[in-house]
């Protein structure tokens, strides 16, 4: 018990309805707590600002991975291990499996959740780039009702989200990719296992008649929040695989990113490596 938090409180609602009612009672005072793999770290270090928590652990409505109507729905409490062990996720969303494997190590994957990875809003989280690449939507619930936000419009700045104080991240919907798909995920960290990303890039492309018909690139650790590489995507859309403008895309990528230098990497390192990873991704795409 390293953190000294005299006002520490954990509310444990037994149902989703009760949880939303508690959030609505005093919006902004309760911080949702799922696996705790991010919050408890800050707590143990004595640096946790929130002191009152809404423990979601008993809310079974927020669990489970389901496939329906051309999309897969992940309950916010789906753990990284749930993602790793779901055959349908392997089949449709290989990048998400790689993201889950790249997050912490096994004990963290057993406990940490997809909803928490999103709502914690770390720019260095490893599932967001894949969710961006697959065109995910986030389902938000409150006593006022539910709404869906395209995930690429959910993060508005560093730890700033399109999320009202009475809203809860309830589920993540990801459309099933169609057509001839290309999936790419690359995380660059200090070591292979349980490093925090210096750069993370996930991409999904649909190829038709030798041409890039659809493409989304998600990036982590190179901006205040997870981002789409929209400038790079624009350069590549509609281009033939045989003549991909790799250098132009790499140049455009610099418009997308705004890396900082910190304890894990310098801004210049992140900039150069993101370019290089994009180059690697495009050379693989060219051979599809």
């Amino acid at each position: 018990m390293r953190g000294y938090l005299p006002d520490f409180d954990v509310r444990v609602p037994a149902s989703l309805g009760e949880a939303l009612a508690l959030l609505a009672q005093a919006p902004g005072t309760l911080t949702p707590l799922a696996g705790g793999t991010d919050l408890m770290v800050v707590y143990n270090a004595g640096r946790l600002k929130p002191t009152r928590f809404l423990d979601l652990s008993r809310i079974d409505e927020l669990r489970g991975i389901r496939e329906a109507a051309g999309a897969m729905t992940f309950g916010a409490l789906s753990t990284f291990t749930d993602l790793r062990e779901c055959a349908a996720v392997h089949r449709h969303f290989p990048n998400l499996v790689k993201s889950a494997r790249a997050t912490g190590a096994l004990a963290i994957q057993n406990r940490g959740t997809l909803g928490g990875n999103i709502a914690n809003a770390s720019p260095a989280a490893d599932t967001p780039p894949s969710l961006l690449a697959y065109g995910a939507e986030v389902e938000l619930l409150s006593v006022r009702g539910s709404r869906r936000v395209a995930y690429d419009r959910f993060h508005l700045g560093y730890k700033v989200m399109d999320l009202a104080p009475d809203e809860l991240v309830a589920a993540i919907h990801v459309p099933l990719p169609t057509g001839r798909g290309f999936h790419y995920f690359r995380k660059v960290g200090t070591r292979q296992a349980q490093a925090i990303s210096k750069v993370c890039l996930a991409a999904w492309a649909r190829v038709e008649g030798g041409v890039v018909a659809d493409l989304r690139i998600g990036l982590g650790s190179v901006a205040p929040a997870p981002i789409r590489a929209r400038h790079a995507e624009a350069v590549l859309l509609g281009q033939a695989l045989a003549t991909l403008p790799i250098e132009a895309a790499q140049a455009a990528l610099l418009e997308d990113i705004s890396p900082i230098g910190d304890i894990r990497a310098t801004a210049r390192y992140r900039s150069v490596v993101t370019r290089n990873v994009l180059g690697h991704m495009l050379r693989e795409l060219a051979t599809l």
Partner: protein
């Protein structure tokens, strides 16, 4: 100890769980981690405190059979759950096959990381799945050994998995 905190919240809670096969009922502070309760209150000192941020794996315990970092796991979450610490493996002084494998391979140096690694390996063996060499390394990657004796640890885990698979093949159906 305070029964109510500054916000007037009841800061203590009755926790019922099973630890190493025995029912435990204990009053805890809601701020306590499972590591705090297991080590400091119940004296299961085989659960080690290393990094306190969920990276080193020294505090690993099995919760309902699943490896978890007890340092970042609120004790209150363990209510109604079954916990296994390293003290719960050997029965009547007889080591489990996983523990034997660690001894046979000399996979122990200072021993600080050993309880966590043995528990994670136990969960792998209990899963009944088979693991490639690379998968074993990945499954155990959440355990830091500052003596850097990783090769023997991986050897021991692979021996335990191999022996369990052989035992399963030879057991009568």
């Amino acid at each position: 100890m305070l029964t109510k905190n500054a916000a007037g919240v009841k800061a203590r809670k009755r926790l019922c769980m099973t630890v190493n096969g025995r029912a435990v009922e204990i009053e805890i502070d809601i701020r306590e981690s499972l590591l705090d309760v297991l080590r400091d209150r119940l004296q299961f000192t085989g659960v080690k405190q290393g990094c306190s941020v969920g990276e080193c794996g020294a505090c690993t315990v099995l919760i309902d059979g699943t490896p978890m970092n007890s340092c970042i796991y609120l004790a209150a979450w363990a209510h109604g759950k079954t916990i296994t610490t390293i003290e719960g493996l050997a029965q009547d002084g007889l080591l489990t096959p996983v523990q034997e494998a660690f001894v046979d391979e000399g996979a122990i140096q200072c021993g600080f990381c050993t309880p966590g690694v043995v528990l994670s390996t136990t969960a792998m063996v209990d899963s009944g799945k088979s693991f490639t060499h690379d998968e074993v390394r990945r499954e155990l990657s959440g355990h830091l050994c500052r003596c850097t004796g990783y090769q023997k640890i991986v050897d021991a885990a692979e021996r335990a998995l191999r022996e369990a698979a052989t035992a399963a093949d030879e057991s009568p159906v």
